[in-house]
């Protein structure tokens, strides 16, 4: 069995899947990174991803255009995050309570709308569509090993990598990024410069919603092509955990996301390999590891000082 596993082909396939799964959660984590760097803790990532997954599916299903579906997903994510932003950033309601509430609300709304539109969903008659196919990058995808893992991925994975670079550049090399980071450490400093703290944070929250929606679209529109309840199965929470584990730094978050993608991919293959452990253990593995991740991340020092604290001008 171990021999099978070590066979290069299988390993490559696992790694390729790892990149796919990892970039899904990377998108959401990057969004949450920006939000948290501005000082806001948004716990509704799971709900935003679910809304994006649903809206993405619906948009693509009815317009027969996958990219229009993606647009719908981004919009849905932003709408949900706007609700969170209204409660937590504008009205200064406790960020934890706001996030949990919006999470529950978004999940309820999504499921209700799905059931209303498709009342007769069963095991055989589930609405489906043709998902994205992989987009191999010419020449690079020919490279042995690396070619299949890194350069024969879905478009959304390339977007995720690009966003990581973009966000890293934004945070550390631009004027706006400096303002954002300062918002997370000492919002009063930003307020004193005459910049609207509420507006800036709200925009950051919207960006987070956009990214979470995009991540949701990735789930339904790349590779599965259907929508079911709880299709996100905890990935939104994982994204939050990854931000902590990655010490609020883009590069570390990238590695953490890929690692979890690897676990996800591994879990799928191990079942197929007939490894003699209860399959429930494999299914539970990502959740157990997420717990381990936050445990290991407990002493991370990169947390924005003003994270989760309302800013009130005195």
């Amino acid at each position: 069995m171990l021999a099978d596993f070590l066979q290069a082909g299988l390993l490559i396939s696992i790694l390729a899947t790892a990149v796919r799964m990892g970039t899904i959660v990377l998108l959401a984590a990057l969004g949450e990174l920006v939000v948290e760097r501005s000082g806001v803790l948004n716990l509704s990532v799971e709900g935003m991803m679910l809304s994006g997954a649903f809206a993405g599916f619906m948009g693509a299903y009815y317009t027969s255009s996958l990219w229009l579906g993606v647009m719908c997903a981004i919009l849905a994510g932003m709408l949900v995050s706007a609700l969170f932003g209204l409660l937590a950033v504008v009205l200064h309601i406790d960020q934890t309570v706001s996030g949990l509430t919006v999470n529950i609300f978004a999940a309820g709304l999504t499921f209700y709308m799905y059931r209303s539109i498709f009342p007769n969903v069963g095991a055989t008659t589930i609405p489906a569509l043709q998902p994205f196919s992989k987009v191999p990058i010419p020449f690079f995808s020919e490279i042995p090993v690396i070619g299949e893992i890194l350069f024969s991925q879905y478009a959304l994975s390339y977007i995720a990598f690009f966003m990581m670079l973009l966000i890293a550049f934004y945070l550390y090399r631009t004027k706006s990024g400096l303002i954002l980071r300062t918002l997370g450490e000492n919002p009063r400093a930003v307020d004193m410069k005459g910049i609207n703290v509420t507006l800036y944070r709200f925009l950051a929250v919207l960006f987070g919603g956009m990214m979470a929606g995009l991540a949701g679209a990735f789930i339904t529109l790349a590779s599965v092509g259907i929508f079911v309840a709880d299709i996100t199965s905890g990935r939104g929470w994982l994204a939050i955990a990854i931000v902590i584990f990655g010490d609020w730094k883009p590069v570390k978050i990238l590695w953490a996301s890929l690692f979890f993608g690897f676990i996800d991919a591994l879990q799928m293959q191990l079942q197929a390999l007939g490894v003699q452990l209860p399959f429930q253990l494999f299914l539970a593995m990502p959740y157990i590891l997420t717990t381990v991740a936050v445990f290991l991340g407990r002493k991370r020092s990169g947390a924005p000082i003003a994270l989760g604290v309302h800013y009130v001008r005195e």
Partner: protein, 359 residues
């Protein structure tokens, strides 16, 4: 000619009972309006829906009993949430702790099948086992938080998933009813059944839930531990300086909260299903969080909200039969009400003030 007066927005010092109630009423009305709009948008007739809900929730004795039965587990998980949230320990693991509780009771029944105890002893023993099961599952995040300051939200959510996989593992293996293809145990012996009240389907669990509400009230407001729970929730720094061991409070709160959710699991399994069956909880844990927030983290609020939810839930089943509106509308409405409550409460925190514009 410049105006005599101008308006400013300032924060109120204190909301006061009247405005508080007003915000709740507005929130409810706004939610119903939004839901009605949504129903109409998807093509159903609003008044048919409302009639169906009313009939299904309180239209007959049968309906009322059903409402109270539905209210029981979520009242308990709501109380469990109160205990934790009052300390600002964000336990989102009620669902998992509920399962752990049901598994605790199941464990005792299946592992000691020849226990010939009279129901008077057997049942409290099983309920205790369910509380221990829930407490254990709540204790893990509690320990991680109090000792290592690990984020309890993520851990409790993760453990929800983990315990359900553990449950399916057991129900597919050692605990599975011999010869069954489904995920369930054998039927439990008669001595484990919770007694029924007034010759109806309503089981003792409802009374247990009410008792639990009373106990939670007493704990939070009349006991030293409750004082410390509230202190930790409101200002953990000052609480520490004044001698409160906030770590100990964190752990205790998770144990208690887990125990109460575990009790909910035990009550459901011993009162309704009489076997451990996969998926017996249709989100009781999460609904409990909703109930607690709706009830403003107060036991009386939780009692009212859980009965309200039970009614809605029953009504929704009827609604699904008589119209095309899916039952999941109920969860949506609950979530919506809370959003509205939060929103309006926050809005009412500010007021418009007329100030003299002296120039």
């Amino acid at each position: 000619m410049s105006s005599q007066f101008k308006y400013t927005i300032e924060k109120r010092k204190d909301i006061g009972f009247l405005l508080n109630s007003l915000s709740i009423v507005i929130a409810l009305i706004a939610s119903i309006a939004f839901a009605a709009g949504l129903i109409a948008l998807f093509g159903a007739e609003v008044d048919i829906v409302l009639k169906a809900i009313a009939r299904g929730s309180f239209g007959s004795l049968h309906a009322i009993i059903d409402t109270l039965i539905k209210a029981t587990p979520i009242m308990l998980t709501g109380l469990a949430t109160i205990v934790a949230f009052r300390a600002k320990v964000w336990n989102i693991g009620q669902e998992g702790q509920l399962y752990a509780g049901s598994m605790g009771a199941t464990f005792v029944i299946l592992t000691f099948p020849d226990l010939n105890l009279p129901a008077v002893i057997h049942i409290p023993l099983l309920l205790l086992a369910s509380m221990i099961g829930g407490a254990l599952w709540g204790g893990i995040p509690g320990l991680l938080k109090s000792r290592y300051n690990v984020n309890e939200i993520i851990v409790t959510v993760m453990l929800n998933y983990v315990v359900q996989y553990l449950c399916t593992f057991l129900l597919n293996g050692v605990w599975q009813e011999p010869g069954s293809y489904y995920y369930n145990t054998i039927r439990f012996p008669q001595s484990t059944f919770l007694p029924l009240l007034f010759n109806t389907r309503l089981h003792l669990g409802f009374i247990i839930a009410l008792l639990a509400a009373l106990l939670v009230y007493f704990l939070i407001w009349k006991m030293k531990l409750g004082f410390e729970i509230r202190a930790r929730g409101d200002n953990p720094v000052a609480a520490s300086y004044k001698g409160i061991n906030t770590k100990r409070v964190t752990l205790l709160v998770m144990l208690l909260s887990g125990a109460i959710s575990g009790l909910a699991g035990g009550v459901e399994v011993l009162g309704i299903h009489h076997k451990l069956i996969w998926g017996f909880s249709s989100g009781f844990g999460f609904t409990g969080i909703l109930i607690a927030l709706l009830g403003r983290l107060h036991p009386v609020g939780v009692i009212v909200a859980s009965i309200f939810f039970g009614a809605l839930h029953n009504g929704a089943s009827a609604m699904q039969i008589y119209s095309d509106v899916p039952r999941s509308l109920v969860n949506l409405i609950m979530g919506l009400i809370i959003v509205m409550l939060l929103f309006w409460e926050a809005v009412f925190k500010y007021r418009l003030r007329r100030v003299e514009n002296v120039s």
